[in-house]
Amino acid sequence: MNTIANVLRNRSNLKLNLTQITRLSSNVSEEKIVIPKAIPRGPTDILRALESTVSRDPTATHYKYHDDPFLIPMSNMGKRTFAMAQEAGRKAAYWVREQHPDLFQHQEADPPIKPFFPKMVYSEDEVTEDTLKHVIDEVLIPDAKKIYKLMIEKGMEISKETQQALLDLLCFYNNEDTLSEEFIEERWFRNSAKEKVRKTWADGSLAEEIFISIENPDAAAYSAIIQGMAKHYQVNRAWQLFEEAQGKGLEVNTSTYNSIIRVTSFMKESYDLRWSFVNDILSLMNKAKTKPNLGTLNACLEIVSTMGQSKTAKSYALKLLKEFKSLGIEPSLASWYHVLMTYCKERGPVSTILNDILPHIENKEHTIRDIKDTFFFVTAMDICRNHLHDKDLAQRVNKLLHFGNNYNLIGDSYKESIYYRHYFIVLCETEPLDEFMENIYNKLVPHIYVPEPGVIAEVLKNIDMNSAVEYLPKIWSDMLIFDHTGRENLLNMVMNIMINHKPDESSELNDKFSKIAWGIWSKIENQNENRIQKLAFTGEMLGNIMIMVLRNNDFEKAFEVMQKLDKGMHSVVGVPKLDALSMFMDHCIKEKLPTTAIQCIQYLTDSGFPEAEDFAIRLNKSLTLDETHLGRLGKIVGEQFLQKKM
């Protein structure tokens, strides 16, 4: 044992000696080992880091859709329907749970999961101030109202803070129940473009009652009620209460001043008055020594953007930006949105301010700091398309959108589709068609963006201009999937492209074009009798269809078309082009069908074509006609031609 201890000691001494020797003999100066401070990691940080490496896969649909070919949405309607249907199912389950709370009283999860707790039912005996506080925290507005009323009935004391909290809640939500945060799809698809700016404040609601019931309302109460009224456009009373508060010398908070500024346009008409009003409010703020914040900047900019196109408006905007910068308030995307609205008016001079804005915000991650931040990207892309027609700028904006988590700022589905619509069209107009199709069209369509009929029309125009007919079959199949084939103008454009750009004889495009033409034919033939907006055949359309199928040497179909022309003289408007009938005639001669040829000539004469005679002569020359045929021809065209031949 002794020896072992000795050996161990020696060994450890040896090691120590060795390290000392190496340290002395090494040339490298002693490197201090600095242990860095531990970065506090949350429970899901590793997952977030992994997620940041995965970007959107354009070949698959959004992950909210079920991954099965039958269940993949292929059109805008489909995407919306499927997502909303799934959410409707969730709501149904939610409703079942609410209807039968006695069945869902178990609580088995360990550790406990809050959303799975059984629902609370508030009865008369059990309400206390704590339940009210709890309900206010959970944003359950109908429950809050009910509990408050119960407490008032029972004459229970409610502390000032709770009362203030309840007042805040009711003013913010205008006494209405809000959509639970769980129902994300409904929020995503809610059509926020149709928000009408009209008074929605519920007069005489519980919020006002609470406000009146407070004997000496303090600054916080005034702030809450003024902000609520201003938010829901009850402007007159908001202003009244504001003046009252000023008269009493109460210091309302910054957000109240901001909300008053925001409704300036309802109170003052002319631009000068508006600007002076804003200045008044700001000076009031100054007197009360309330610090302005980002909301103040955005509210002022919003008012400036409504001031029409004048040089003064633009100068005000710049002044505001500069002043707030000196206060240390960084403009958010909403501020830039208002600046763009001020500068880039539709009927105004072209302004390249977007070029100056982008360097400030590029290559940075933005978070939502103001509710109007989501308007920025749509507006920027709109300006790139309509105002500036600049594709580089569009690409830069797109890159910013895809930087980090900025995609969260796209807003909702409506804004997303408008954004991509503008992006598509600006690139369609400026980029060469091949690159456009390869990089943009094939990547984004159909999973990220489904183009609207107007956008498809632009693409078709582009194809027409570039004679790039090889893309036409793909566009046609996309039109079929997205259900754009009901549009007459699109069908006409497709037909014109096919007619004007005749492919070579041997190319397989002939086959595809004939299929497309036949697709149009069957679509119109077979459409539902009861449709309101029925598509009708025109003579020219039928002629074009005939040309297409004849180019592919498909005589039967052409014959069908001819029959339709002949028999449907009443329903078909107009006549086909002469080329169509000429081609048909040639094919008849090739196929040696004199009866059909004579039928064609009959149609020519009936429609009033003067070339009927030439056709008859041609027919006579190429085919040997027997007595009956000659007789009929004679009846149609007249006896002169026989003499001509002779």
């Binding site: 079920h66 099965d68 070919p69 039958f70 269940l71 949405p73 489909g78 329907t81 499927f82 997502a83 249907a85 799934q86 959410e87 409707a88 199912g89 969730r90 149904a92 389950a93 939610y94 079942v96 749970r97 869902f104 178990h106 609580q107 088995e108 999860a109 999961i113 799975f116």
Partner: protein
């Protein structure tokens, strides 16, 4: 002691004997018939791959329908898990009426439950999505675990038939 007591004791003994003698044994019967399907005369009874392989092929050609760790050493809630699985199966079959063409597979990972199966394409995708949302949400509330439903659709019932018997 008395004659009556003696009689009672005697009858009790004879009762026990008769009770014992009510036990009947037969010869040992080695027939196994669980999970096996009888051949029909017309040979038109359809079997899926799962039905066609009898239980001794589990872990050879077949795998289990319920996957969880409750039956391992230290595994918790084995009986509750089994009962919950039965509930899930009955619930799914009832909600998706006539749509399932395969067995319903239940896999548990951490506290997530994944329910998988093959359904027919007989209802429109919109209705399928509604049922998916409803089933996921209701099962989550009932079982107090996040539930995910993973389905695969098949055009025709005949696509999952392995053989006719």
């Amino acid at each position: 002691m008395s004659l009556v007591n003696l009689k009672q004791i005697l009858t009790k003994c004879s009762l026990q004997q008769t009770q014992r003698s009510l036990l009947h044994t037969t010869a040992i019967c080695n027939r196994v018939q669980s999970g096996r399907y009888r051949i029909t005369a017309k040979k038109d009874f359809p079997l899926t791959y799962e039905m066609a392989n009898p239980p001794h092929q589990i872990a050879h050609r077949k795998s289990w329908n319920s996957w969880n760790t409750s039956n391992l050493q230290g595994g918790l809630r084995s009986s509750e898990t089994a009962v919950e699985d039965m509930f899930i199966r009955k619930f799914m079959l009832g909600t998706w009426h006539g749509l399932f063409v395969s067995e319903i597979i239940v896999k548990r990972q951490h506290n997530m439950i994944r329910v998988a199966g093959i359904i027919r394409q007989s209802i429109s995708p919109r209705k399928v999505y509604f049922l998916i949302g409803y089933s996921e949400e209701l099962l989550s509330y009932w079982l107090q675990c996040p539930t995910k439903i993973e389905l695969q659709t098949v055009a025709d019932r005949k696509d999952v038939i392995f053989k006719y018997i």
